[in-house]
Symmetry: C2
């Protein structure tokens, strides 16, 4: 919908979308509309709630005391994101923020931060990271938002949380299967992409990971990629190969 | 070569590599070895010059007055990078630095910054950007360095500089060919990936670009990607599909 592409786009998960319905928005969103985007009553924007597609809405009220939107009509039907999770070790703030943002932009359904042997960063601010994902969803025109999970232990996640999906394990300096052949083989199945911390996985971790039958080790090429580059390459690669 | 993976790796384009040869390094590199990496005479590092593969070297002298390396033996044969260029509009500093870094990390041979109708940034520091590319080459274990060209006009570049390669034109909100089919069709040919500024290309530019017979318009999916994400997705996608 080229016509509406310049309109602000907001994620409003608590509202159910029915034509003509009015609903309030959060204080943060009201502040953003009023003070950052300089919007006022009568102007249009786009909204989505993760369930009902993308809608055109009009600002019914916008002042210090209240902010009310009115739904005009549906612009686009809801589309499901790919069933792809990202498992990645926290790295330094700037690079990790980027990993969250890009993962959401590239359509991942869930991001699980995992602690590995070589992980240096042991605390994350889940709420802040989730806010980054929401902003990325709004800007990339997704219909839903990537969920950011709390920090978990790598082995626990692989053994319990991921045991019913195919894990794509990106590894370097080792002769393993080609990325494209592996991804083609797994087309349409629930996937998780596993990316190591700076410094890679420990050899004990590599043995553990490779021992799981639902893990597929792949190479992203002969160059050594930073964690965030490897993540973007693998995540976009999976989706470009599926199309 | 896992054994040497922790060794510092330096790009030394002016030296020809012959076993036992000694050569000086730049002041900046000497400072880096001595003061940043805390290295001293007798320690090993890896070097490459873009022509003769990767070599093991020993620090023969390292003090305030001089810095001398001695070549020990060749570790890896020279490998040619893919014949892929990147054409992209400058964007704000942080994102553009990232585009340069990631392009080199992902193996592009050349980066041509191009001015488009919606380009907001009209000056670049070519030398600083080239230094970012060199650092990315050193860290990603490339055997050569991506060349960063001066800022040029989009139409001139497309008409003259790129007329003998296939240009992959990443466009959004339009029904065009699938990325993977296009890339497969062009496998092995010299390529250039064209990425627009924030705000996209003007409609006049789109007509001009699409009118060139060596341009292939592709989509990277239904989501709207930031320039740097689109670049990384397309560049890694091309290479993952070719393997």
């Amino acid at each position: 919908m080229k016509k509406y592409k310049r309109l602000v786009r907001l994620y409003i998960p608590d509202a159910d979308f029915v034509c003509g319905e009015k609903f309030g928005i959060s204080e943060g969103q009201a502040h953003y509309l009023r003070n950052v985007m300089r919007k006022s009553a009568g102007e249009s924007l786009r909204v989505f709630n993760g369930r009902d597609g993308e809608w055109l809405a009009t600002i019914a009220e916008l002042n210090k005391k209240s902010a009310l939107l009115e739904l005009t009509h549906k612009l686009l039907e809801q589309k499901q994101s790919s069933d792809i999770w990202v498992l990645a070790s926290p790295v330094k703030k700037e690079a990790f923020d980027m990993m969250i943002q890009k993962s959401c932009e590239l359509g991942a359904a869930k991001f699980i931060p995992v602690t590995c042997a070589h992980t240096v960063v042991h605390r994350i601010n889940q709420e802040r990271l989730q806010a980054i994902a929401i902003e990325a969803a709004e800007q990339s025109e997704r219909f839903d938002v990537m969920i950011v999970e709390p920090l978990m232990d790598l082995k626990k996640v692989l053994k319990s949380v991921c045991c019913e999906r195919n894990v794509i394990f990106c590894i370097e300096r080792v002769e393993v299967a080609s990325f494209s052949e592996t991804v083609k083989k797994l087309a349409g199945k629930p996937l998780a992409i596993l990316i190591g911390p700076e410094g890679g996985f420990s050899s004990q971790e590599i043995d553990f990971i490779q021992g799981l039958e639902y893990v597929n080790a792949v190479t992203l090429g002969s160059r050594i990629l930073k964690s965030e580059t490897a993540l973007i390459a693998a995540l976009s690669g999976v989706q470009l190969l599926e199309n």
